[in-house]
């Protein structure tokens, strides 16, 4: 059995920390090597779950857009400006699913969906306060809950520094 990608990344981190960094004499080189260690930590934190996370994100955003479509299509009868976003949602949901499970393929699909989500949020804000738009606030909250879940993933050097207590709280809030 060969080492996994994750095990290999951990090995690279160990080699940097134990073999290379102690030999470096310039503070700039030491700093660059420590940055590499942190970059590897960031990659390692995502390596094993990247495909699962992207797949889950795609499913979640597709569901959000489907819910949005039903809501916005109803409001569209009173607001012509909503036609474009309905067409966009229809277009991105109709796209032939890419059977590829490559990270690049999944990322591209996720990005196309997020681009529509970005514009949907803008339209939902425009509708706030209009009669018949009561459901849009709940939908916006769902969208931001998804964006928070995504923003909390992985590892950042701030998690052990500036964001230390905030990240602990945010993860507890999300799992509650």
């Amino acid at each position: 059995m060969r080492p996994t990608g994750l095990e290999s990344l951990r090995g690279l981190q160990a080699a940097l920390a134990e073999t290379l960094i102690p030999e470096l004499t310039s503070v700039h080189a030491q700093d660059a090597a420590q940055t590499m260690t942190m970059l590897l930590e960031s990659l390692a934190a995502e390596a094993d779950t990247a495909v699962a996370d992207l797949t889950a994100d795609i499913v979640a955003v597709e569901r959000l857009l489907e819910n949005a479509r039903a809501l916005v299509a109803e409001l569209r009868q009173r607001n012509d400006k909503l036609g474009a976003i309905v067409s966009e949602i229809d277009g991105v949901l109709r796209e032939a699913g890419d059977a590829s499970l490559t990270i690049s393929g999944l990322t591209a699909r996720n990005n196309r969906l997020r681009a529509v989500l970005e514009r949907l949020l803008c339209r939902l804000e425009d509708l706030r306060g209009e009669s018949g738009s009561e459901g849009t606030d709940a939908l916006s909250r769902e969208v931001y809950r998804h964006l928070r879940r995504v923003a909390l993933r992985g590892w950042s050097f701030w998690d052990v520094a500036s964001f230390r207590e905030r990240i602990v709280r945010a993860r507890a809030e999300l799992s509650a």
Binding site: H28, M38, L39, R114, L147, S156, F157, R164, R166
Partner: protein, 338 residues
């Protein structure tokens, strides 16, 4: 490798000096927007031996920021003559033949610490945190009092009026996100919409804004004296509260708790700035500038990420920074209440 080239440059700038030698050249870590080098130079002046430490700031091959190199040089010069603790600047050189890229040379302030972890956690400095906080707010207030017209700093771009400062910065950073983002940015876009709807009260005066005033960008000696304010490359004219908001954002808290700058309770921070400047700090305006600050930092990281992705730099820092935008998104969502 750089030493003989710096020696040649110094010979051109110090024609009266004899036997110039340069030693101890090393690159100072950090500085994702501009390379910072330290060196020692010695020469004879009318027979007398002279020895000085210098800092050289050189344009990088690619950066998290695209700034005019003479901006920082001119602003530091104005700050110095206004009595702000900054290194004295000596020479600006735009001819790339000397050191491959443009650079400027300034004084090296000796015996100081700038690393935020050391400033905040070193037991010798910890006891001085109250005094450091007081000095930082007093210096910030003095920066905001600099006579920018008298120092001919209008080239930084004068806001149309006091109410235009917020929108000017929104437009500046939105244009950068438009240009640099590699992927959709629903949170940053929502933040820009929030910023447009929640613009701050008109600035109480149009002031010189340092724009990167924070823990990590000042030099502190072992007795807790703030000896130098660094990194002026984003300086511009605008609302003084912009610096207050930037100082307060979570990324510069370092210790992981709620202390502003890792140094002060929020109420203490606001009170100290108000007392030093005489300017009331409207809390909603400060919140606007905190949101803008987080968005600005995200835009800076996105710029570095694009430089890396497009192959203009191979610095791992640029890739690494680009992977930290998510935490800023989280902070932005907290601040705008979504």
């Amino acid at each position: 490798m750089l030493a003989p080239r710096i020696e040649a440059f110094l010979r051109s700038r110090l024609p009266e000096a004899a036997d110039i030698t340069v030693s101890g050249v090393y690159r100072i870590p950090g500085g994702a927007s501009r390379e910072t080098w330290s060196f020692d130079a010695a020469w004879r002046d009318n027979g007398a031996a002279v020895s000085r430490g210098f800092i050289l700031r050189r344009d990088p091959d690619a950066s998290v920021l695209e700034t005019e190199r003479d901006l920082e040089f001119r602003v530091i010069g104005a700050a110095h003559v206004s009595g702000i603790p900054v290194p004295e600047v000596y020479w600006l050189e735009e001819d790339a033949s000397w050191l491959d890229r443009s650079f400027f040379v300034m004084e090296r302030i000796e015996g100081c610490e700038t690393n935020p972890t050391k400033v905040l956690m070193d037991p010798g400095l910890f006891v001085h945190h109250g005094r450091i906080s007081g000095q930082l707010m007093e210096i910030l207030a003095r920066i905001h009092e600099i006579d920018w017209q008298g120092h001919d700093l209008g080239f930084l771009g004068v806001p149309a009026d006091e109410s235009a400062c917020g929108l000017m910065e929104i437009e500046r950073w939105e244009a950068i996100v438009d240009r640099e983002a590699l992927e959709p940015q629903p949170v940053l876009r929502a933040a820009f919409r929030w910023l447009r709807r929640h613009q701050p009260r008109p600035a109480q005066r149009i002031a010189l804004v340092h724009a990167d005033y924070r823990t990590g960008n000042f030099l502190c000696d072992p007795e807790g004296n703030v000896r130098g304010i660094l990194d002026w490359e984003m300086a511009h004219l605008g609302d003084p509260l912009e610096d207050v908001g930037w100082f307060a954002i979570r990324p510069w808290r370092w210790l992981g708790n709620e202390l502003v700058g890792g140094l002060m309770e929020r109420t203490d921070f606001i009170a100290r700035y108000e007392a030093a400047s005489g300017l009331p700090a409207d809390l909603e305006s400060v919140r606007f500038w905190e949101v803008l600050g987080n968005v600005k930092l995200a835009a800076i990281f996105l710029t570095g990420a694009r430089s890396f992705t497009e192959g203009r730099t191979r610095a791992p820092m640029m890739a690494f920074l680009g992977r930290n935008v998510a935490r800023l998104e989280l902070e932005i969502m907290d601040l705008i209440g979504v």
